[in-house]
């Protein structure tokens, strides 16, 4: 019964192995499917809450879609990242500044109990499983396992792999684990790597990067205590009660490249339908924690905004269902994406004028496009999902929720929020300009993401990408960028694009070679900083003024910018500066005095790390501004002094 799935897939695989030749690009949809469906899983897993353990069996029906045969299989065993303190994940976490030693009950691991492959016959390979560390040679790392095959699998050849395993559920690491009676399971099963034309792409688990896997069909049965609610990737097919106080939840998902699930008896289950004149209907299922009852509309509204705007801008969401998980407090599982399921995250006190939980909901729902549907390699090119999605999310935040996006700070251990109702959050703040500015030169974006410096990589992955895409939006215009992104989405959904494919699409749609720009923002780590060096406007004879403007490139990176000079009668002169030389000088003879000058007045270059120096005026109000803000700061200091003076 459990292994009946996939006969059709096998037939399709056998058929296609006879009709495709090895020079063809195999990363194409399987016949009748959206995706290649070359990594298909049937999984039967049992949760043991008492032992905090999982026991599972899985059959992987795998097809070699590369151009070359392989004599080896490689698997991710992600939970082994928390097996010992010397795993690559924990080493990198320490490099990033987190030196906390996990408590004894926090560790997690996966043990393979048996591994058999079926080729011409059934082979027991359990004893030949070995651990490899392709990224750093760390012999203590057990997150990648390999087995040699008795016979190589040719291009388009298939193999069935049966694995039995047990896993100790960790206290939450990397969005997976348990707290109390809440469980979230991500990267929880032995998962086959991605075989590319030049070999296996099976990276170890790194603290700063995520995942990469092939598309397939997932048919999963999860046995949990009766009364526990289950949310999972795909769609629930059946729930059947067992006699021993458990229930089996059967989920099925097609054309997805991962499977995550959660269970807890505490969830409140709510559903709502997304409808749109031109986009397919989507049933939204929200698993809400009881303490957040009343916030369901905020989760649904954010999911609706995502399904609408991402759907209109990039392409429709094809699955028909999506599950939003409101994670438990301290579960560490918030803000994470999985196919057709994601975790949002909110707080007990969530002020209405602050975009939480909206922004995280939009972000994670948005990953259904940039990660779920366009399956880029998150180990190597994390910016292609996180960065593009950060840009998309900030755009939705602005369009859908811009009128109620205000700054808030939290006090008293982070529990008590205070909203600054006169400090609106602009899009560049959502895009992380401050974070990028702080770490702008830490790594070139072209560096494989798993090699970024652990504590600063996020700023390059998320924020730099969002800012350079925003720059492109202002430079090329949104219609052009939107067309490029939707074309790219359509061409690469259910596939694994490389950066070159994205750049090529942008060049093609823009109708110009943007390579110099990509050289700066992707291949380089220089910063952009244009500014005004001098503005003078002095009488030069009767009724005339001589105005001199000197603008400078303070940063190493270059970008064409406008230089706008405004005169006291309101007239304007705009110059187009290619921004390559270190400085440019403009002189004007006019009947009126100049009032101000601005480099990049429309703020096209969102990556400019110092925008304050981009303008200069002859009627400065800096002293007024500094007086105002220093007096405010003084009142704050007086408050601090008085508070501490309580002690004397």
């Amino acid at each position: 019964m459990r292994w009946t799935f996939g006969l059709c897939a096998i037939a399709v695989a056998l058929l296609s192995s006879t009709t495709l030749d090895s020079s063809q690009r195999f990363d194409q949809p399987a016949p009748g499917a959206r995706s290649p469906r070359n990594a298909n899983y049937e999984i039967d897993v049992r949760l043991e809450p008492g032992d905090r353990a999982l026991h599972g069996r899985e059959r992987i029906r795998w097809r070699n879609i590369s151009a070359n045969p392989t004599g080896e299989l490689q698997f991710h065993l992600y939970w082994n990242a928390w097996r010992n303190a010397e795993s690559t994940w924990l080493r990198e976490r320490r490099l990033g500044g987190n030196t906390t030693t996990p408590r004894p009950d926090a560790w997690g691991w996966t043990d393979i109990k048996a591994l058999r492959v079926t080729q011409d016959r059934n082979y027991d390979l359990g004893s030949s499983v070995r651990f490899i560390a392709p990224d750093d040679g760390n012999t203590a790392d057990r997150t990648v396992a390999a087995v040699s095959l008795p016979q190589p699998v040719p291009p388009n050849g298939t193999v069935d792999i049966d694995i039995e395993w047990s896993a100790k559920i960790p206290r939450p690491f990397a969005r997976t684990g348990y707290i109390d009676d809440y469980y979230f399971f991500g990267q929880w099963f032995p998962k086959i790597g991605v075989l590319e034309d030049d070999g296996w792409n099976t990276h170890q688990f790194h603290s700063g990067t995520e995942f990469y896997s092939d598309y397939g069909v997932y048919d999963v049965r999860m046995t949990v205590p009766r009364g526990y609610v289950v949310g999972a990737s795909g769609r629930e097919v059946t729930v059947s009660d067992s006699s021993n106080g458990t229930a089996i939840h059967h989920f099925h998902g097609e054309d997805i490249h991962d499977f995550a699930w959660t269970t807890s008896p505490q969830f409140i289950v709510l559903t709502r339908m997304f409808t749109h004149p031109t986009l397919p209907q989507v049933q939204m299922r929200l698993l809400l924690r009881p303490e957040h009852a009343g916030q369901e509309a905020r989760h649904f509204d954010a999911a609706v905004a995502t399904l609408r705007y991402y759907g209109e801008w990039f392409g429709p969401y094809p699955y028909g269902n999506i599950t939003i998980v409101d994670p438990a407090f301290q579960s560490g599982s918030g803000g994470m994406e999985y196919p057709t399921l994601f975790t949002a995250g909110t707080r007990w006190i969530a002020p209405a004028r602050v975009l939480s939980p909206e922004s995280v909901t939009v972000h994670e729902a948005g990953h259904q496009w940039w990660y779920g549907l366009v399956g880029s390699n998150e180990f190597e090119h994390a910016w292609m999902d996180e960065g593009i999605n950060q840009f998309s999310e900030a755009r939705v935040d602005e369009v859908a929720f811009g009128t109620r996006n205000f700054l808030a700070r939290r006090y008293f251990g982070g529990f008590i929020p205070w909203v600054f109702r006169d400090i609106a959050v602009k899009r560049q703040v959502d895009e992380g300009l401050a974070g990028y500015r702080a770490q702008a030169e830490s790594d070139a974006q072209a560096t494989p993401s798993f090699r970024y410096w652990p504590s600063t990589g996020g700023n390059i992955t998320y924020f730099k990408t969002a800012l350079w895409l925003h720059t492109l939006e202002k430079w090329l215009g949104w219609p052009t960028l939107q067309r490029a992104m939707s074309t790219y989405f359509d061409a690469w959904k259910f596939r694994h694009p490389e950066p070159a494919e994205f750049f090529q699409q942008l060049n093609q749609t823009a109708g110009r070679d943007l390579t110099p720009f990509f050289d700066e923002v992707y291949r380089g780590s220089d910063t952009f900083d244009y500014g005004v060096q001098t503005l003078t406007s002095t009488p030069a004879g009767t009724g005339h003024f001589r105005t001199t403007v000197v603008v400078r490139r303070f940063g190493e990176a270059t970008f064409p910018v406008d230089v706008l000079t405004i005169f006291s009668d309101g007239s304007k002169k705009t110059e187009r500066w290619d921004g390559i030389e270190r400085r440019a000088i403009y002189r004007y003879d006019t009947k009126v005095r100049a009032r101000s000058v601005q480099v990049d007045p429309n703020r096209v270059l969102m990556l400019d790390v110092n925008y304050t120096n981009n303008s200069r005026t002859l009627q400065s109000r800096a002293s007024e501004a500094s007086l105002k803000w220093s007096l405010k700061w003084m009142a704050w200091l007086q408050d601090v002094l008085l508070t501490y003076a309580w002690l004397v």
């Binding site: 009676d181 301290q330 006090y411 008590i416 500094s626 220093s630 002094l641």
Partner: protein, 333 residues
């Protein structure tokens, strides 16, 4: 007794406006140099930019982040956060104390100066409130001088007590007990309640310490005690014999503090603009600072009143009032 002492305290503050004015002046002087320094930094960063106009009229959070990025961790610039706006100032400062957040060195210096001045002036303040009549500037500063070294000795004891509370008790409460007890709780509200319990314990311990120190100072001044150990023991004895009154008065003053903070939460000026709007904001915020100072002085004045009423010594102070020596010309005459 509590109500009359509390009212009496307010009367004594009202009768000594110069004390309030002087303390306000000190609070201003302690903050002004650093405020001037950060004002120079802001002015320099804004330069002649158009951003300055926007920042003068309202706020530009983008600029704010850019300015804040100029300084590193624990620099003065790093304190220029949105917490300086409106009611956030109060939340930030109280949260900073209770959460034991690191203090920027320049702020710590200002704080040290401010506390030093308080230690110096408290003798004069208590003497003035204890006598309940004008003592003149000479008498005030003479009393300050008389009690300064005694209060420095008391301050050393207080320093040890606070060091123990912040270094050990706080650590034990928040980094051990709180963490252990909340580690497996998946409901934020429950975790928050635990944090409130920790805050309540810590605040109670701080309040007890400050109360003992306050009454030690009151007894030192009223009874002209030279031994600060004796003053501390006497203060503890007084608190043990009058627990209801001491706690009642402390709670009454706490309500006054909460009322002041509550009003501030309602009327705080926010970002504001420039010109008249800016000055209106300054007036409001300085009014709040003045109100906080009144609360601080009310604690001292009402505690003095309570002690004196308990001993039927209203208006009595054992130390002779210092008087200005007569000028040599008197002898010649």
């Amino acid at each position: 007794m509590v109500a009359s002492s509390w009212r009496d305290g307010l009367t004594r503050i009202a009768d000594a406006p110069a004390v309030l004015a002087g303390i306000y002046f000190i609070t201003l002087v302690a903050a002004l140099p650093l405020a001037t320094a950060i004002g120079f930094d802001i002015n320099e960063h804004l330069g002649s930019s158009l951003t300055a106009n926007e920042v003068a009229d309202s706020v530009n959070y983008d600029w704010w982040q850019e300015f804040a990025s100029q300084g590193g961790f624990l620099t003065l610039t790093s304190t220029f956060t949105p917490s300086i706006v409106g009611f956030a100032t109060t939340l930030d400062s109280i949260s900073s104390l209770l959460d034991k957040r690191p203090i920027v060195p320049a702020i710590a210096f200002a704080l040290g100066f401010y506390m030093f001045v308080w230690v110096f002036l408290q003798g004069g303040i208590l003497d003035r409130y204890a006598r309940g009549r004008r003592i003149g500037a000479y008498g005030f500063f003479a009393a300050s001088g008389i009690f300064f070294l005694r209060f420095v000795r008391l301050g050393l004891v207080a320093g040890v007590a606070y060091w123990f509370l912040f270094a050990y008790v706080h650590e034990w409460l928040f980094a051990r007990w709180y963490v252990n007890v909340t580690r497996d709780i998946a409901i934020e509200r429950t975790v928050f309640y635990w944090r409130v319990v920790m805050y309540a314990i810590f605040v109670a311990l701080l309040a007890l310490t400050t109360t003992v120190l306050d009454y030690a100072k009151v007894r030192a001044v009223v009874e002209d005690r030279r031994s600060m150990a004796g003053a501390l023991i006497a203060a503890i004895r007084f608190i043990i014999r009058n627990p209801g009154r001491v706690v009642g008065l402390y709670l009454t003053n706490t309500f006054l503090f909460l009322a002041v903070v509550g009003v501030w939460a309602l009327i705080n000026p926010g970002v504001g603009g420039s010109g008249a709007s800016m000055w209106a904001g300054v007036l409001l915020s300085q009014g709040y600072i003045l109100a906080r100072l009144i609360v601080k002085l009310q604690v001292l004045a009402s505690e003095t009143a309570l002690f004196q009423r308990s001993l039927a010594h209203w208006g009595y102070s054992a130390v002779p009032l210092a008087t200005r020596p007569e000028p040599p010309i008197v002898e010649i005459a």
